[in-house]
Symmetry: D2
């Protein structure tokens, strides 16, 4: 019998991507689609690429419309997920694609989000040690942020193998869909095409503490992250260029061995052959992660680079991957490692 | 038992797209992949988005490497398909994504291609009247050109219903992948980003006679086509803006009725609700066709616009759709109407 | 003594482009810069590319702030220019980059804009026969729309030489800056990158009557225009693909001769050598117009294609060109025919 | 009397940009334009944006064609400049936009370029301490690489003020024109649009020793640079995100003061007001540099980010700026700080 899934926030980019993937998932029946200001509109006008759902009408996001589903995906502004989850009850699988339940440290949450900490749910990055066990059978999933997904996968093997000093430097370029669908002047096509621009420089981006949390868990000690996100002239994709000083005695072989081991059995993470480097185009629309690592002997640094699709592996694909685990399905069900290129 | 398919020309854009779609086709086993100058290389280096095939090595395009398959896709420069098909024999389904067997008129072929006409194969545009019958059980398929696919689907209902004068005007914008993967200076990213540019103006584009052939068949009389292709700064997609003078007495209602009827049962062609217009982003990576039509009373013209993905419905998706028919499979097997957007 | 110029609407794209060009104009001193919701902000935050004006503060758009200038450029929403011009008095040169004073026919205005007709000012397309004489010494200039600039320059020679039937078909692709800086969801970078999409199809675009007015003046008879604008994934540029049926007896030589003659002495319009076609990248940031024309004998049509920068020749450059004429300066002062490419 | 300038390598991107800027330089007369495989072709076909030079024909690059000029710009593959300069004699100002004379250390040259070191010429980055004095009256100029221009300007103030530890980490995104005009498959528009991709990772990029040379001079001690260049989907622009650990006791105020002082009198470098960050779009086509700096207290790092146009300030604009100094002209002659945006 099919699992019945609802999507709260179906008019935005995260919601649209969840629907795109759910349509291709063999075990899911798509139930309620809800919105806020768009309630009452047809999905065909809001998400014209989702042809099979063109005639579906958005319901308002209420306990009534979301009731009666096995899984509910939340693509809501942060701060709203706790209340919705409570109304849904403990037997419904709630997959939160927002930030509310990612951070363990309440002080971090309050400093970066300026509101009370809602709690912590099992973290939906299955590739991390121990993550799958926590997700199995869980009724709550906190989907990681897009940048933390890319950065954590690029760097955790180096920390887990004690190869890197606990001070990481990350510069990541994201496609504009990461900034959402709400119209803002600096996100207009006229502004972003032909331009690379940083934002949230100097440690202010809200994804920073999430990266530090993940890398500290891998390292067994605190890890600082100097994180600079940049907006790139493309709709999708994150390229995360990450580095850290190598610990004394580290060799290129040891680095490669650590990454080979970390991803040996991972269905979605592809450590590229030596000499080839990730490109966001290669993972466009797919749940795949491309990773490559190098040891720059002259600079004494390990350079690890990952490419993901911010909406797929970075949001909705990661959400379905974790949902599969929580539901006891094969983890790869309905998810592809094939990019749409060129 | 799975159908075994080979792809000749697997390193280019058409070949890569066939493989992307074949990987998602439940009834196909991917056999030989062949190339010319790239023979001996791993597919991972040539098509890094096709992760499941990364370790496959390209064989040379020879009768031996292509032997032993049920279906062979040809993504070869024009002029080479006839010889390969002959070597494969009459029992192998040969799907030619090149131009060799599209035109019925030998004089047209010779004028536009400058070589001897190879013949005509059943034409792989199932939406045309009579096309499915010709494809069923066929062992040869001529996949339409990308522009003719977009233009024919936009205009044939108007001609089939005798609503339009036999002089069509078409301006189409194509993504750069339509120009292929061979490196040329005018196709460099530096040249195409930020630029719209026409080419083949004045009737010289080789897809012109193919459009005329299709529209004449629908109209029952010769139809001239003034065709101007333009290169747009995007990797994929064709937007075809087509128009023709309305015959006397035509009404907006009659136009809409003709299009509604033409596409009523088509699984891949979506006539948009009135007031909405196609966008190439909505069909990115999918086999869907978005069509809209309007009657401009002041100018006395029918305006029909279609959007397709030039590599999917315009090439490889159209090829698989026709293959499905030829093999007796459900026509939609392995093909999606869901675009990757934004 | 320098001419003192004010810009009303300095925070938008048209206003910013006027300022970019005025900064390079040797005879102009930049006076008041005004805005509406942005009054009080520094220009550096609104137009970060205009470094020399970074510390200038926007004043509100009032008669007082605009007083005391020799020239006032209006980059305002339509419907507001008449009142501002009246307040400025008859001795100030008012250059309206909006639509208010372009159309001669009050009925056309009312049908397309839904308000009362404000009147008609000398039309700022100097390349049209008689236009320069009307601009010389004028204190009012109606700057043409961006699409009518591109389309009129592409087609008027054919009509002035009586070569074309009075039914033109135009499909034009515009960069997104033509849609302005007000944030709207469909203009987000995520939506426009990778997509070609039409709008205003079927005769509804407000630039249509302006094109018809210009071509009718050249033809000496009414000319219908079937106009389809499309949004292209680039910030700037218009490529206008225009065609009309050739009158009986027309030859390719006659067509070329008409265009050669029409643009022989034009400083900004460049009729390309035969065999080369316009590209918007070539006129990026410049006041140049690239034009090419062909006679498609098989279809019996004249195909004329032009490329402009919609913000430069299509708006602010055209405005300065006409201002130069009105002020008795050399028409090319401060304007360039050199594009920024690649 | 005008200075007469020749450009060797006029068909490529660097040569084209030199010509674009020379056309706007009031004291220069453009003499010979030379090419290699393109000799004999008209510039209009090769650089269609340079309308005033459309009818100029490329000469072969020989001592004869380059003779008789006051200034010769070399836009040649590396390794060719020494021989050409010798033939031109000591009285001609030779401005080398290639790499041949940038590095002081012969061993560095040999390791990164694999050939014999040609020597060192005065280095054309006037903003560096002492650079202007070396350029005044010089007959030889080594124009810096595009990445070293962006990175050096972002970081040298921190090193000159002894604020940063001598281990810099740089991730820079470049537009595709930095990779040149020679057609290569990975530079096709189809490949680069929608994709961010690193290259030369791990210390291998040839611009690395040049950055280290510049920063070491500022620091008075060796500085290592971990440099990762990435290719961004845009034609022009470099965004360099640079960081280094702050020395003990460093404060945000001290960092800002160092940058304010370093650029106080610089005509082309604009230290942005606090809270605003560079964007490549803002310097498109201009010689301006936007810089911003922050002190990330949590990570203990100074983050300095610069944006330049790789072809203008990063190549041809920097070349003209240094030429102006060498010729005794005002340094800003013919150069603009106004970007073409949006």
């Amino acid at each position: 019998m099919a699992v019945r899934a609802a999507v709260a926030g179906a008019s935005g980019y995260a919601g649209g991507e969840v629907l795109r993937l759910l349509l291709a998932h063999p075990g899911i029946e798509i139930g309620a689609l809800t919105g806020n200001t768009n309630a009452g509109e047809r999905l065909g006008a809001l998400q014209p690429h989702l042809l099979p759902l063109a005639d579906r009408v958005l319901a308002p996001t209420t306990p009534e419309t979301l009731a009666g589903h096995d899984v509910v995906f939340l693509a809501l502004p942060h701060g709203q997920s706790a209340a919705v989850a409570e109304q849904l009850g403990p037997d419904v699988l709630v997959v939160d694609m927002g930030a509310d339940f990612r951070l363990k440290d309440a002080a971090d949450w309050e400093r970066f989000y300026g509101s009370a900490h809602a709690g912590t749910w099992p973290y939906g990055l299955p590739e991390l040690p121990g993550a799958r066990a926590a997700l199995e059978g869980s009724k709550r999933i906190a989907v990681p942020g897009c940048y933390p997904t890319a950065v954590t996968l690029a760097l955790f093997p180096a920390y887990a193998a004690a190869l890197a000093e606990p001070e990481a430097v990350v510069v990541a370029a994201s496609g504009t869909s990461g900034a959402g669908k709400a119209p803002k002047a600096h996100l207009l096509g006229s502004e972003v095409m032909g331009s690379m621009a940083p934002y949230g420089v100097g440690g202010g981006h809200r994804h920073t503490p999430e990266m530090m949390q993940n890398l500290a868990a891998a390292a067994g000690e605190p890890v600082t992250v100097s994180f600079t996100p940049t907006l790139a002239p493309m709709p999708r994709g994150i390229l995360a260029t990450c580095s850290a000083k190598a610990r004394p005695g580290v060799t290129a072989e040891a680095v490669r061995a650590a990454y080979t081991k970390a991803f040996a059995d991972e269905p979605f993470v592809h450590l590229l052959p030596e000499g080839r480097w990730p490109a966001t185009a290669s993972v466009y629309g797919s749940n795949a992660v491309q990773v490559q690592v190098a040891y720059d002997e002259a600079a004494g640094r390990i350079i690890a680079i990952s490419a993901i699709d911010n909406l797929t592996k970075g949001t909705a694909g990661g959400a379905l991957q974790s949902m599969n685990i929580a539901l006891g399905l094969d983890e790869t069900t309905g998810l592809s490692t094939i990019g749409v290129a060129p």
